[in-house]
């Protein structure tokens, strides 16, 4: 786009404050019709707030928005939709109890007399949209709660397209998708832009932005630090530097030196022939103290299910999990925890943390009895112990009374790790440890995980980001459709090899 027509959308000097935070501090954004405009920035940089302003879900405190040459007020989600601005949120914004078609047309159902929903018409129209999105197999009458995450994403997209859109905002649309689904997503984006629709694309994955982006706007601390850079020509290190002030995307701590004696300690965790029907089969694995083992695989390959079964949250149909040579009672989280297994779950906000409670109370949750004196909690001891654990992980802010809700994603994860550290666990299971953690904080989290391993902990890691598994783990098990198809030292693998293994022999019929 050399000679620029007037922009479709211009946001200038947008400011927005929440109690205690200045989320947007004068952001500019200019989007042309038919382009893919990428919005980059670390978590907390203001991307989510900006797109909510654009969706009419937040009202800005200051600044102006021009749409097709006219100044507009996006006073509600409906206003934005009527103008042709649709948003696909990262947190799936679907109603599980409604069907696919009902979700697609929620809020603007085809009706007779404005009241009675024309169900058949809605289903036909939804089917057409799903067809256009390359997913005719999704039944419009099916309840959304029964669909996989990837299919739910497609439904969100169908909902965006159900409006007469000129601009679609996609907030990390690829986060829940497998590589081939991402290709499908890119085809859809291409189709949209060739129809003249503008796409604002948010992603943490720089390589995606290279592939489909036209221009890039970078946010940092509520300000746009770069506006409208060419996506293809700007070097990655420049973009990362603008986002973080550093110039590398992943920084991994060093592994034990290659000439160090091989780890011959007795395995602390042994998994033999573990099966869960329909999820995974015959998984064998050994984990020694001081070792980080990674599980790589697609969504649905069984990687998280294996972790949860080892933890006792799911009951295996066959096989055995032993800690220090003693078999665990299958399907019992209590047995697993008593034997020294700890889990940092993928959905840490929902499954691990009491968000409104203090750091201390979150960290001490699994060890409360240790601080009890005849039923009374020795709160001084609780606080001191929690503080020791959080300091060891350099959790910030160094304030044991801060509500966990106010911490960044990386520090929330540290609070979860501190809980297990305090408990003195021997095996740590990490499910997507850096999901929702920004680039800068990741390196620190990696270093913490490696340090814990060096201190003798055994770590089992699951991540959808292959570079993360390869960079952090000592040994990697590659999973495909519930089976371990390859096992090797991490240094012997590269990203392409892993992706090949993961996809190899995918059903084509």
């Amino acid at each position: 786009m050399a000679s620029e027509p007037p922009p479709l959308l211009t946001m200038s000097g947008i400011t927005k404050s929440f109690p205690g935070v200045r989320a947007l501090d004068g952001v500019d954004l200019q989007v042309q019709a038919g382009e893919v405009h990428c919005l980059l920035g670390q978590n907390g940089a203001g991307k989510s707030t900006l797109i909510k302003v654009l969706a009419g879900a937040h009202q800005p405190d200051g600044g102006s928005i021009t749409w097709q040459g006219e100044t507009v007020q996006l006073s509600s989600p409906i206003t934005a939709m009527r103008l042709g601005i649709a948003t696909i949120y990262q947190e799936l914004d679907l109603v599980e109890g409604l069907s696919v078609a009902e979700n697609v047309f929620l809020g603007h159902e085809p009706t007779s007399g404005g009241f009675v929903v024309r169900t058949r018409e809605a289903r036909t129209a939804a089917a057409a949209l799903l067809e256009r999105l390359g997913h005719p197999e999704i039944d419009p009458a099916r309840e959304v709660g029964d669909l996989s995450a990837a299919h739910q994403q497609i439904v969100s997209m169908a909902r965006a397209l159900s409006h007469d859109v000129r601009l679609i905002v996609m907030d990390e649309p690829s986060a829940a998708l497998d590589p081939d689904e991402v290709d499908n997503l890119f085809r859809i984006v291409d189709g949209l832009t060739s129809d003249g629709v503008a796409v604002v694309y948010i992603s943490h994955r720089l390589e995606e932005i290279r592939r489909i982006g036209d221009r890039v706007t970078v946010l940092k601390d509520g300000r746009a630090v770069a506006v409208g850079l060419p996506a293809a020509a700007t070097p990655t290190r420049d973009i990362v530097a603008m986002m973080t002030g550093r110039d590398v995307e992943y920084v991994f701590p060093p592994r034990p030196a290659a000439d160090a004696p091989p780890n011959t300690a007795e395995p602390v965790l042994t998994v033999e022939g573990l099966c869960r029907e329909g999820e995974f089969e015959a998984v064998d694995l050994e984990l020694r103290p001081g070792e980080i083992v990674g599980l790589a695989g697609l969504v649905g390959s069984g990687r998280s299910e294996i972790l949860e079964t080892v933890y006792g949250a799911r009951r295996p149909t066959a096989g055995r999990v032993s800690v220090g040579g003693t078999p665990l009672r299958p399907g019992s989280v209590r047995a697993a925890v008593a034997a020294g297994i700890g889990l940092a779950p993928e959905e840490r906000k929902a499954q691990a943390l009491l968000l409104t409670e203090s750091v201390t109370r979150n960290v001490s949750l699994s060890t409360l009895s240790r601080f009890a004196r005849g039923g009374w909690l020795d709160r001084g001891a609780e606080r001191a112990a929690a503080r020791r654990a959080t300091r060891e992980l350099s959790l910030r802010p160094d304030n044991p009374d801060a509500a966990v809700r106010t911490l960044s994603g990386g520090n929330q994860q540290k609070a979860v790790l501190a809980r297990w550290l305090l408990r003195g666990c021997r095996v740590l299971l990490l499910d997507e440890p850096t999901r929702g953690v920004d680039v800068g904080a990741r390196a620190e989290l990696y270093a913490v995980i490696r340090r814990l391993a060096d201190e003798g902990l055994a770590v089992l890691l699951v991540s959808s980001e292959v570079p993360e598994v390869l960079g952090l783990a000592d040994r990697v098990l590659v999973l495909r459709e519930g089976r371990v198809v390859h096992e090797a030292a991490a240094q012997e693998l590269d990203e392409h090899r892993v992706l090949d293994l993961v996809m190899e022999g995918s059903p084509t019929s």
Binding site: R120, E137, D139, S148, G300, S506
Partner: protein
């Protein structure tokens, strides 16, 4: 939900790409079966089964008394009043709320509609007043919850207390006898249509209207959306607060109608009317499969829940079992029904 079964859709082998492992095996439509062209929940079918068993038990233990036409009419009439209340409460619960004040609203509407001043306006005056008082109480609930930010439990608890208090103040604890003939006539066998009491017809009409509203209108969709995922509803452009207000208005209106039905039945208005209706209505909705956390529920299930409850009460009474035993049995049934449902649900889930 009871919705028409999908017409033959794209159920083919799909594109058979690598998304096969990501999506659960193409299980048809969760737990459900086609009945008369409608998809009925397994739980509704099992409730229907329970009802059939109850009727059989009644017919065997008290063959003459239970199956007597008069007794069956009595069961249905008793179910009608609480049933109308339950339809309203079901909407509120599906929409993510709770209404503890229904019994008190019934009491308030029934006494306000039977004061000497109101009775002067005859049939229409009584009916109109009952509905307006119900709507007004619902409006207060709705405004406090939707726009005042009060938790539904608290707001309706406050309404429960104050509406009962107001009802007591109006009556001074006395029973207000109704002298309007046309109102009283509605309760007499002469006005039965083909053997069906008019109040039962009202209940049937409210049920059908409720079913239609929930399953066929934007109002119903929005109710499910607001209860299932309020943020998603807001971002879809739904006015979540207004929808919540409407739900409490609807519940209030149902209470007004139920109050009128109670006036017809008892020939009077009393401040003790509708005692513990909130418990019966909520319990019937829960037994009928409505999720207390919102976002899911059916009118058919709630109505079956009401019928099951009323039939049990009737059988117990015919067998001379006292109300203390009835209460204990009701509690046990609630627990049993929910346990059975959880099992059915888990079996159906992936």
């Amino acid at each position: 939900m009871t919705q028409p079964a999908p017409s033959a859709q794209h159920q083919g082998p799909g594109k058979g790409r690598a998304d096969a492992p990501a999506s659960p095996p193409s299980k048809k439509q969760g737990p459900g079966a086609r009945v008369l062209g409608f998809r009925a929940d397994v739980r509704n079918l099992s409730l229907l089964g329970v009802l059939v068993v109850l009727v059989a038990v009644g017919g065997i233990t008290e063959p003459d008394a239970f199956l007597d036409t008069g007794n069956l009419q009595l069961i249905l009439t008793q179910a009608s009043v609480i049933g109308v209340v339950t339809v309203g409460v079901t909407f509120v619960i599906i929409g993510g709320g709770i209404d503890l004040s229904v019994g008190a609203m019934v009491a308030l509407a029934s006494v306000w509609a039977t004061t000497l001043a109101t009775q002067e306006y005859g049939f229409a005056g009584i009916l109109f007043t009952a509905m307006i008082v119900g709507l007004a109480a619902g409006l207060v609930n709705g405004v406090l919850i939707a726009y005042g930010g009060l938790v539904p439990f608290i707001a309706t608890l406050a309404m429960l207390a104050s509406a009962r208090g107001l009802a007591l103040q109006i009556t001074d604890g006395k029973t207000q006898i109704v002298t309007v003939r046309s109102v009283l006539d509605l309760g007499l066998p002469d006005s039965y249509v083909l053997g069906i009491p008019p109040l039962v017809l009202v209940f049937a009409a409210v049920t059908v209207a409720g079913w239609f509203l929930l399953n066929r209108t934007t109002f119903g969709r929005r109710t499910v959306a607001v209860g299932g995922n309020a943020e998603a509803a807001r971002l879809a452009g739904i006015d979540v607060r207004r929808q919540r207000l409407y739900l409490y208005l609807l519940s209030g209106l149902c209470c007004g109608i139920a109050a009128f039905m109670l006036i017809v039945l008892s020939g009077s208005g009393q401040n003790t009317n509708g005692n513990l209706y909130e418990l019966d209505a909520i319990a019937a909705a829960i037994i009928g499969g409505t999720l207390l956390s919102g976002g899911r529920g059916t009118i058919v299930g709630s109505v079956l829940g009401v019928l099951v409850f009323t039939t049990i009460t009737n059988i117990f009474a015919l067998n001379n079992l006292q109300s203390d035993v009835q209460q204990i049995a009701k509690g046990a049934i609630i627990v049993a029904a929910v346990l059975v449902q959880r099992r059915t649900l888990r079996g159906g889930d992936t």
